[in-house]
């Protein structure tokens, strides 16, 4: 079997923030915190990824908050040594990313740092992540990343609360040197499941945001990070904006949990098995019922074959139709 091109590794479940839109599977109602591997076990797990060294293009270290790991730099060094062709990304809130830590991570082999900026207004950002002063720290972290010579990708999670502030956040990020901007529509999952109806942007809001996205593209590289089905928009999306969930293809990003358990993606809570016990290729061969299946409301849609019905995990977790609200 040909391995995946991307992998996500949630190295820890610990996080100092309490984001209302958090999609981490362990923050879902009724789910428990997973255990965390010891530093030694983490290094062993890296060796499990060796068979992927030729095809694996991107490995994202996330969490929780990965910067809470004291041995993060050692882990990056090990990954960089064993998987030299793989671009290592670090997905962080930026809360603990000082200039010296950024430099150490860059030296260890981190190529990209992914930061989340939810607004240009501190009050909105801080309220959404549940921590005062977080906005200021993200800005400082972005500058530290650029000073250290790493690439910076800034993620914007669009909820009903902050979607209107997308242009401001995008401009601020580009001004601070962001190399890529990612617009992610909020998808129900994790803690976000408790209030997903309140958090989901309205179709009108999404329309407005997409219009502004087209304007922002003139300034810098702005992409959509999550599938935004055409039925959510009044106008046909641009060719590159018509995304579909990559699950089941080589472009999918299987996710390793803090305890070494492999899941089909970072949104999907089903555990395929432990990577410490079985090889990744065998785990990925397991069937994933329902993941590639079109939802009933999409069957008659003319876009269905290209859009794939949006995010199947979010749809299943919400337990009902979350797209096609314009019909």
């Amino acid at each position: 079997m040909t391995g995946p091109r991307s992998l996500v590794w949630e190295v820890t479940a610990r996080c100092p923030l309490r984001c209302s839109h958090c999609y981490n599977v362990w923050t879902a109602p009724g789910a428990g915190m997973p255990s965390e591997l010891s530093p030694r076990a983490r290094l062993q797990l890296v060796e499990r990824l060796l068979p992927l060294r030729r095809g694996l293009r991107a490995l994202t270290l996330g969490g929780g908050e990965p910067l809470l790991l004291d041995d993060l730099e050692q882990l990056v060094v090990r990954i960089h040594k064993l998987l030299p062709r793989t671009r290592i990304s670090l997905s962080t809130s930026g809360l603990l990313l000082s200039a010296s830590r950024a430099l150490a991570l860059a030296r260890a082999g981190v190529d990209v740092v992914q930061l989340t900026l939810l607004s240009a207004r501190p009050e909105t950002h801080d309220e959404m992540v549940g921590q005062q002063g977080a906005h200021e720290q993200v800005i400082a972290a972005l500058a530290a990343v650029k000073q250290a010579g790493m690439l910076a990708a800034v993620f914007f999670v669009a909820t009903r609360r902050n979607i209107g502030e997308w242009p401001g956040a995008a401009r601020l990020a580009l001004a601070l040197g962001a190399d890529a901007l990612m617009f992610n529509r909020f998808q129900p999952g994790g803690r976000g499941l408790t209030r997903w109806r309140e958090l989901t942007p309205t179709p009108e809001q999404l329309d407005g945001a997409m219009t502004r996205t087209d304007e922002l593209r003139a300034l810098g590289p702005v992409q959509l990070g999550t599938a935004l089905p055409p039925c959510e928009l009044s106008q046909r999306p641009g060719k590159t904006d018509l995304l579909r969930c990559p699950i089941g293809t080589r472009n999918a990003y299987p996710t390793i949990g803090p305890d070494g358990a492999l899941r089909p993606c970072n949104h999907w809570p089903t555990v395929l098995g432990s990577l410490l016990e079985q090889p990744l290729a065998r785990l990925l061969r397991r069937p994933e019922p329902g993941l590639r299946r079109l939802p009933p409301e999409c069957v008659s849609c003319r876009w269905a074959r290209r859009c794939g019905g949006g995010c199947p995990a979010a749809r299943a977790l919400a337990g009902q139709a979350i797209y096609a609200r314009r019909r």
Binding site: G30, R57, A175, G220, T240, V271, G290, R293, C298, R305
Partner: protein, 323 residues
């Protein structure tokens, strides 16, 4: 032999050109039909199956149902509907453990659950006082309620063996048992355990069967497609002259390339949340970044205090070529 007389091996130009054209059209039509059939079957299989619920969602729903059962049992004993399970704690220590777990949830969560539980109507099929062997109430209509509870976990829903699901079944369910006995939620590493629930097993078996059928259909379609192409090539080679054969082969090859491009094109754009392997370093100059910031301030999108801090950082950042 007169020049006007036809030869015995007549491959007149008109006939010989018509053959590959007809063949190509037929092949294209067959190809198109195959694709459409595949799409139709994919849609059919999608439409006929219900969505799959993750263990976490299942778990949340089981908890909800468990609370409902607890409250109703309590109501059956005391004759009134208690506001919380805490009021039943003396009678039901195991269920109170579950309540403890619930009360540790973020504020608003338990109210959400409780409201849903209290609003749900009483169903005779759940009555714990019902004597064994008594006739079951008719099944409720197969619909999802406001919480999106899957019907197979609602008391009164049909079980795989044809009988109706009742509260006893729910409490006998391995997931529920785990919750009741352990007073907590299994960690994600034990989530495969959750899938061992009998109802989920049944559902998974259904799903597997559908997957198997779908993959069979795909295999048949692929075989058919391959057969069509091979037949086309064979016909071109055997029946036509050298020139015509070339035309036939070229058209089939072109068709294949086109089909490949269409397929590749339609599958190219995936959500790129973590596929961050492609983008490059920004080449924007400091003055351009400042201009973007000022534009944001002017439009009222970036607060002045934030812009002040940002300016400081921008000035300290090296120009792209200096990096």
């Amino acid at each position: 032999m007169s020049k006007d007389q036809p030869t015995s091996v007549d491959l007149s130009p008109r006939r010989s050109r018509a053959l590959p054209i007809t063949l190509t059209i037929l092949l294209a039509a067959g190809w198109f039909a195959t694709w459409e059939t595949q799409a139709y079957w994919a849609s059919r299989s999608a439409g006929s199956s219900r969505s799959y619920y993750s263990p976490a969602v299942q778990l949340a729903r089981v908890e909800l149902q468990l609370r409902a059962v607890g409250l109703r049992r309590c109501a059956a004993r005391t004759g009134r509907l208690p506001r919380t399970l805490a009021q039943c704690a003396a009678d039901m220590p195991r269920l109170s453990q579950l309540l403890d777990f619930h009360d540790k949830k973020p504020e608003g969560m338990s109210h959400f659950y409780l409201r849903a539980v209290i609003n749900e109507p009483w169903r005779p099929s759940e009555d714990p006082t019902r004597p064994k062997g008594a006739r079951l109430a008719p099944a409720p209509p197969p619909s999802l309620d406001y919480l999106g509870l899957p019907i197979h976990y609602r008391p009164g829903a049909a079980k795989p063996d044809g009988t109706w699901l009742g509260s006893q079944d729910l409490l006998a369910d391995p997931v529920t048992q785990f919750l009741v006995h352990e007073g907590g939620v299994p960690p994600p590493s034990k989530q495969p355990f959750l899938l061992s629930s009998v109802f989920l097993q049944h559902r998974e078996a259904e799903q597997r069967e559908k997957d198997r059928k779908a993959s069979n259909i795909r295999a048949m379609e692929f075989g058919g497609l391959l057969g069509l192409v091979l037949a086309g090539v064979l016909i071109s080679v055997l029946w036509c002259g050298r020139r015509i054969r070339a035309v036939g082969i070229v058209s089939i090859s072109l068709g294949s390339v086109l089909a490949f491009l269409v397929t590749a094109g339609s599958c190219m754009f995936y959500a790129t949340c973590y596929a961050m392997a492609h983008f490059r370093s920004s080449s924007m100059r400091r003055s351009d970044r400042m201009a973007i910031l000022e534009q944001g301030v002017k439009r009222g999108e970036i607060p002045k205090e934030v812009a002040r801090t940002a300016r400081r950082y921008i000035e300290a950042l090296p120009e792209p070529k200096e990096r």
